[in-house]
Symmetry: C2
């Protein structure tokens, strides 16, 4: 399927468009000839960063509001052909500290957004950014979409509620919605300030600042990673492809241990070190052990698979932050 | 396990205790020698009925408040040994009409309740009334707990969020929580006014008033039913048994088609008729097709299985309403 033609002269709204994935997607959509609109609450804690729109600020329309702000959401949704629904609370540890905010944004906010779409723009095609966190601790590997869902933190609960609403709105109201369960995504424009959202951003910061990369546990935990270019490709393919509507798909990448990952980052950077440290209190209890996803379903139904090798992706990300690090600290 | 001794001189809080299952459970707990407290918002639309406490009103303490009322919940939870957590929105059709209220009670309310318990009474043993609605349309029968969860209405989403929070609070905070996924429950003190909550209450009313029982569709849909005595038995066994903590169990009964059920009700009543009518608009889209549950897990781990034959249960229920119908219309 030719993505290039699906977005030319189309209107696309990105919720969370000031954030990591959203801002990269905005650039890509502009390249593809789309009109790009952004709805974002501009909260730096969720990854929003004005610098992420550097160079394209004049080409996109930004509505600064939370997805719980019904009036603003109505304004934003009107007339859109596509909705890339990336806004949300993503912090596992944050969800344990303030579970109500987490639930309010990820469930109440998503429900409001879907209701506004249903009433004012039911034909809009929606892709929702879900998370592999909904699986909890894997019972087998690689994890496919049939795996039981036993989230181990409040964020997994609220994100799961958000994805279920998307599917209900497809089944009951006939809307074009799709859910992608993303795994660890990395690349330019991600939040690297601390490890509130992701450990990998934090690792990059440690590496860039000449500090040892801190590995919690023993480094043997397995994870998989997607470069943001691959994640954007999945978003764009699914929004444009009716085969994806009503579906939940895992993304996924090549499995690697955290120790191997740290070593690879150091090798690509050319210097650096790591240290193995115990899990901080509060983190161990919500750690999911080993994880990597089976992305066979989206591959067979939508033709997506990841293409960016981890080594190249790390290089790409490092080069971005060599130049722009100061905007992310 | 001897349930009789587990509750003597113990304090038990029942949320939703003015409702169908809760009020029957209150009577049972009094019989077992427990001190019974009730927290209920007294909303007739959710099944609350003051007459349900007829004859035991002086023996129970009732706090009239919603589970979202943190101060009242704190007061209610204090010092309790057991919490039978039956409060909630249960209307499938209602959740499509007002999805925000449904989410607010079933997810935000449950999260508040759990937070209050965690902070003020973390040792309380909790059983949560879940629903088979979280499965959506079955992909195989009988449905076991490994079945994919694809709820077909907003109520399935919010109830699923509620049960996930109970499991997170077990896994992360070590609390004693258990979830029962109930199927169609029937018996004395259930709401029979209309079909907002259950079709079976409504069928009983039609039968009692000499009107034809209206069967939506073609009558071939399969369902399973539990008499409230069996459901109480499950609640009491699970709250008292550490093997159940952190677990999600299906309840379930003998499968029967709706047509057979209508005929059986008419036979037990001694007269009556039924008619096959098309699904009303809005109902068909959220109908789940055939369903019956596999209750092998709770049987093997907790020793529960249903004992009340459908014919006896129907007789029991009819006799209650022959006498008390006027309090339920």
């Amino acid at each position: 399927m030719d993505i290039a033609h699906s977005y030319r002269d189309k209107k696309a709204l990105i919720t969370g468009g000031l954030g990591f994935i959203g801002s990269n997607l905005a650039r890509k959509l502009l390249d593809l000839g789309a009109e790009v609109n952004i709805l974002d609450n501009a909260d730096p804690a969720t990854g929003a960063n004005p610098f992420n729109l550097d160079g394209i600020r004049q080409q996109v329309k930004v509505i600064e509001a939370d997805i719980q702000d019904e009036a603003k959401v109505k304004e934003a949704v009107q007339g859109q052909d596509f909705l890339f629904n990336l806004a949300g609370e993503m912090s596992h540890i944050g969800s344990m500290q303030d579970p109500f905010k987490d639930l309010s944004v990820n469930a109440v906010g998503q429900l409001k957004l879907l209701e506004v779409c249903r009433v004012t723009n039911p034909a809009v095609r929606i892709v929702f950014a879900g998370t592999r966190q909904v699986y909890g601790r894997p019972m087998y590997l690689p994890v496919d979409e049939k795996h039981l869902l036993t989230p181990l933190d409040n964020n997994g609960v609220s994100k799961r509620a958000g994805e279920m609403y998307h599917i209900v709105y497809n089944r009951v109201h006939g809307m074009a919605t799709c859910v992608l369960r993303m795994t660890n995504t990395y690349g330019p424009r991600m939040r690297i300030r601390d490890d509130r959202l992701t450990f990998i951003g934090w690792w990059f910061r440690q590496l860039l600042e000449g500090k040892p990369i801190q590995i919690f546990g023993d480094g043997s935990q397995i994870r998989d990673f997607n470069h943001v270019d691959d994640v954007m490709d999945a978003l764009l393919r699914c929004a444009a492809n009716p085969a994806a509507y009503g579906k939940i798909y895992n993304l996924g990448g090549e499995p690697i241990t955290l120790l191997e990952l740290a070593r690879l980052m150091i090798a690509v950077h050319g210097s650096g070190e790591y240290e193995i440290v115990p899990f901080p209190e509060g983190r161990k209890r919500i750690d999911i052990g080993d994880y990597y996803g089976n992305y066979g379903l989206i591959k067979s139904e939508v033709g997506w698979e990841p293409h960016v090798p981890l080594r190249d992706g790390i290089k790409d990300m490092l080069e971005y932050y060599y130049q722009h690090k100061r905007h992310y600290l």
